[in-house]
C-alpha cells in the first residue's frame, strides 16, 4: 500500500532525492529492512539456523528413537536403535493408557467446542450491541486476564467439593449425576462460561465484520439469535478455529486441574497419567528406572499435538502472530 503510494509520487522527486546522496548508500540499503543490518553473510547465518533447528527438533527424534530401544540402550544416543524393542505394548499393558488417551481427546474436544461458543456469545455482544455498562464490563474482562489462577484455585476446589457432597452418595441431590471432585466435570464445565482471552480475541474479529452485513440480515427478518448463528459465526470461522485449537492445546497441556480433581486412575487425562507413569517407572520410584516405558508414554502425549499442528499450522502461527497467546 505504502509502496504503491510512493510509486505514484512524482518520479522526478525521487530522482532528485537520490541525486543528493552517495550512490553507494542507495545500493547498500535498497533492500529496506532486509538489508538493515548491512549485507547478510548467508552461510554463517544458515549454519546458525541449522544448529538451532537441530536443538529444536533433536529432542523429538531422540524421544521417538529411544521409545523403540530396549531398556539398556535408551541413553546410547543412536538415532537408529541398535536393537529394536516395541515398548508401546508394555505401556498399554501396565496402565490404562488407552483410557487416558480417550479421556484427553474427548475433554479437549468438548472443552474447546464449549469455550468457543460461549466466548463467541459474549464477544459478539460486546462487538455489536451498545449497552450501558459495556465499557466497564469489558475492562473487567481484560482485568481478569491478569489474575493468577492460584488466587481462585482453592475456593473453586471447595465449591466442587461441596457439589460432590450434595450430588454424591447420601447427598441431598443424589438423584442427580455425581458432579464434583473426582469426576471429570471440573475439567470442562468452566468452559461453558467463556474465557477472557478468547472473548477479547473474538471481539476484535467481530468488530472487523462490516455492520452492513448485520443490518442487511435484520432487514431479511433475522432476529439477533439467528443473525448471530447465520452471519456472525460463519464469518468468524478463522478466529473460531484459532480459539478451538488454542483451547485444545490448553486442555492437552493441563496437569494442575486433573491433579487437583481426579483420584481414580480410570478418570485421568494423559498428562496426569504420564506423570504417574514417571513416578512409578522413572528413577524417583527407586531402582534403575524403566525409562523406555516412560519415554513411550511421552511420545504418545507429544505426537497428537504434532499431528494437530501439522494440520492446523496456519492457524497456530496466524493466531499467535496476530493475537499473542495465553501465558
Amino acid at each position: 500500500m505504502t509502496a504503491g503510494a510512493q510509486e505514484n509520487f512524482a518520479p522526478g522527486a525521487a530522482g532528485a532525492a537520490t541525486a543528493t546522496i552517495p550512490q553507494t548508500l542507495v545500493r547498500r540499503y535498497r533492500g529496506g529492512p532486509r538489508a538493515a543490518f548491512g549485507r547478510i553473510k548467508a552461510v554463517p547465518f544458515l549454519v546458525l539456523l541449522s544448529l538451532i533447528t537441530i536443538i529444536s527438533v533433536y529432542p523429538f527424534i531422540w524421544l521417538i528413537s529411544a521409545s523403540l530401544k530396549p531398556q539398556s540402550d535408551v541413553f546410547d544416543n543412536r538415532i537408529i536403535p541398535r536393537e529394536w524393542s516395541w515398548n508401546y505394548d508394555d505401556v498399554f499393558a501396565i496402565a490404562p493408557v488407552a483410557t487416558w488417551l480417550f479421556n484427553s481427546v474427548w475433554i479437549s474436544l468438548l472443552g474447546a467446542g464449549l469455550v468457543m461458543i460461549s466466548s463467541a456469545f459474549v464477544a459478539f455482544s460486546f462487538a455489536y450491541f451498545r449497552f450501558p455498562g459495556r465499557g466497564a464490563l469489558f475492562a473487567l474482562i481484560l482485568a481478569t486476564m491478569m489474575l493468577p489462577s492460584a488466587v481462585t484455585m482453592i475456593p473453586v476446589y471447595l465449591i466442587w467439593n461441596e457439589l460432590s457432597l450434595l450430588t454424591g452418595e447420601g447427598g441431598r441431590f443424589a438423584f442427580l449425576p455425581d458432579i464434583g471432585v473426582n469426576t471429570q466435570y471440573p475439567l470442562w464445565v468452566p468452559n461453558l462460561f467463556g474465557s477472557a482471552f478468547y472473548i477479547f480475541l473474538l471481539r476484535q474479529f467481530f468488530l472487523g465484520i462490516p455492520r452492513d452485513y448485520f443490518e442487511a440480515a435484520r432487514m431479511d427478518g433475522d432476529n439477533y439469535w439467528t443473525m448471530f448463528w447465520r452471519i456472525a459465526m460463519p464469518l468468524a470461522k478463522p478466529a473460531l478455529i484459532v480459539v478451538f485449537i488454542f483451547e485444545i492445546q490448553a486442555k492437552w497441556f493441563d496437569l494442575m486441574t486433573p491433579l487437583i480433581y481426579l483420584r481414580d486412575t480410570a478418570l485421568f487425562t494423559l498428562p496426569l497419567g504420564l506423570k504417574t507413569i514417571l513416578d512409578q517407572f522413572g528413577q524417583g520410584g527407586g531402582g534403575q528406572g524403566e525409562w523406555q516405558i516412560v519415554i513411550a508414554g511421552t511420545v504418545l502425549t507429544v505426537v497428537p499435538m504434532l499431528i494437530l499442528f501439522a494440520i492446523f499450522q496456519r492457524y497456530f502461527i496466524h493466531g499467535i502472530a496476530t493475537q499473542g497467546r495465553k501465558g
Partner: protein
C-alpha cells in the same frame, strides 16, 4: 467555577444517570446482557466470588479438619501472613521463582528477537525454520519436564555428552542444587517459538520507507536497529515481556513433573526447584493447609500486580504506538 456549571443547562450528573438508566428500557440492552450472561455467571461464581472467599480463607485456619467438619473454622487474623514471612520455604520458593523469571524472560526475548530478525530477511526456507523453531512450543509441559530429566541427566544425558565433545565436564544438572535452576532456565529457553512468531509478525509490519529514510540520513545498521526497528516493534516486545513474566512467575507443570509428586515426595523433593506455585499447590492440595495457601496465593497476586505495574510504568517511556502523537 462550580456556580457557572450549575447555572448552565449542561446535563448534571443526575440527568446523565437518568439517561444511562433509561437505556435499560430498550429491548436491545436486555438482549446484549442475555448474550453476556454466560460470562457474568462465570465471573461471579468462578472469579469474583472465589477471590473474596480466598481473601476470607487467608484469614482463617481452614484446613483438612475444617473441610471434613471435625473442627470449626476460626478467624486467625494475620497469622497466615505472619507465617509467610517466617516460613523459610516461602522465601526459598520466591527466590527460585524470581531467579527463574529474571534469567529466562530476557534470554527468551533476546534469542527470539535475534532469530526473528534473521528469519525476516530470509528469502527462502523461512517457513521451514519457523516451523522447526515452533515445535517445542507445542510440546506438553509434562513431556518437557520428562525431557528435562532425560536430556540433562548428569551421567548419560545428551547435554553432557555434547559438552564432553568439547572437553567440558558437565555438571549433574538434575541432582546438584546449584544446577537445577540453570537447567530449568535452559529448558524454558528451548520454547521460544511463539515469542519469535510474534516478533516476526511485528518486524514484517515495519514500513520499509522508514529504513530507506534512515539510510538516507546516513544511519548505520546499529542506529537503524536502535532507532527504527526497536521503537517500531516495541509494542510486541512489551506485550511478550508482560506475558512471559506473568507466566514465568507462575511456573508449575514442568518443575512439578520433574521434581515433585508421588515418586519423589517428602524429603527428597529438592528445595532448589521449589517454585512459588509448586509450594502453594503442595500446601493446598497435598497438606490441605487451605488458609495458609490462600495467603500465599494473595502474596503471589500482589507480587504479580506490582511487577506488572512496574513494567507498565518503566515501559511507557520506551513503547511507541503508531498513530500516537509525539
Amino acid at each position: 467555577m462550580t456556580s457557572v456549571a450549575h447555572s448552565t443547562t449542561v446535563p448534571g450528573p443526575r440527568k446523565g444517570a437518568r439517561r444511562w438508566f433509561s437505556r435499560f428500557t430498550r429491548a436491545e440492552t436486555w438482549v446484549a446482557y442475555a448474550f453476556i450472561l454466560p460470562w457474568v455467571f462465570g465471573f461471579l461464581a468462578l472469579t469474583a466470588g472465589p477471590m473474596v472467599a480466598s481473601l476470607y480463607f487467608s484469614l482463617t485456619n481452614y484446613g483438612v479438619e475444617q473441610i471434613a467438619g471435625f473442627a470449626p473454622t476460626e478467624y486467625v487474623g494475620a497469622q497466615n501472613y505472619r507465617q509467610l514471612l517466617s516460613d523459610e520455604k516461602v522465601r526459598t520458593s520466591l527466590y527460585n521463582t524470581f531467579f527463574f523469571t529474571i534469567l529466562s524472560v530476557p534470554a527468551k526475548m533476546a534469542l527470539a528477537l535475534g532469530l526473528a530478525m534473521i528469519l525476516a530477511r530470509l528469502v527462502r526456507m523461512a517457513g521451514f525454520f519457523r516451523t522447526a523453531f515452533y515445535l517445542p512450543d507445542i510440546t506438553p509441559p509434562v513431556a518437557i519436564g520428562i525431557m528435562l530429566l532425560l536430556l540433562f541427566n548428569g551421567s548419560v544425558g545428551i547435554v553432557n555428552t555434547v559438552l564432553g565433545w568439547f572437553g567440558i565436564p558437565g555438571p549433574f544438572w538434575t541432582t546438584d542444587p546449584n544446577w537445577i535452576k540453570p537447567s530449568l532456565v535452559i529448558m524454558s529457553v528451548w520454547t521460544i517459538g511463539g515469542t519469535m512468531v510474534i516478533y516476526l509478525a511485528a518486524l514484517k509490519a515495519v514500513p520499509r520507507h522508514l529504513y530507506e529514510a534512515a539510510a538516507m540520513d546516513g544511519a548505520k545498521p546499529w542506529r537503524q536497529f536502535k532507532d527504527v526497528t526497536l521503537p517500531m516493534i516495541s509494542p510486541a516486545l512489551f506485550f511478550t515481556f508482560i506475558v512471559l513474566t506473568i507466566a514465568g512467575l507462575q511456573t508449575f507443570t514442568e518443575v512439578y513433573t520433574a521434581y515433585f509428586g508421588a515418586g519423589s515426595a517428602g524429603a527428597e523433593a529438592p528445595d532448589a526447584a521449589l517454585m512459588n506455585v509448586v509450594y502453594l499447590f503442595r500446601q493446598a492440595f497435598e497438606f490441605f493447609n487451605m488458609g495458609f495457601a490462600s495467603a500465599m496465593a494473595w502474596l503471589l497476586f500482589v507480587i504479580i500486580m506490582i511487577v506488572t505495574a512496574f513494567q507498565f510504568v518503566v515501559s511507557r517511556r520506551f513503547v511507541f504506538y503508531q498513530g500516537e502523537k509525539g
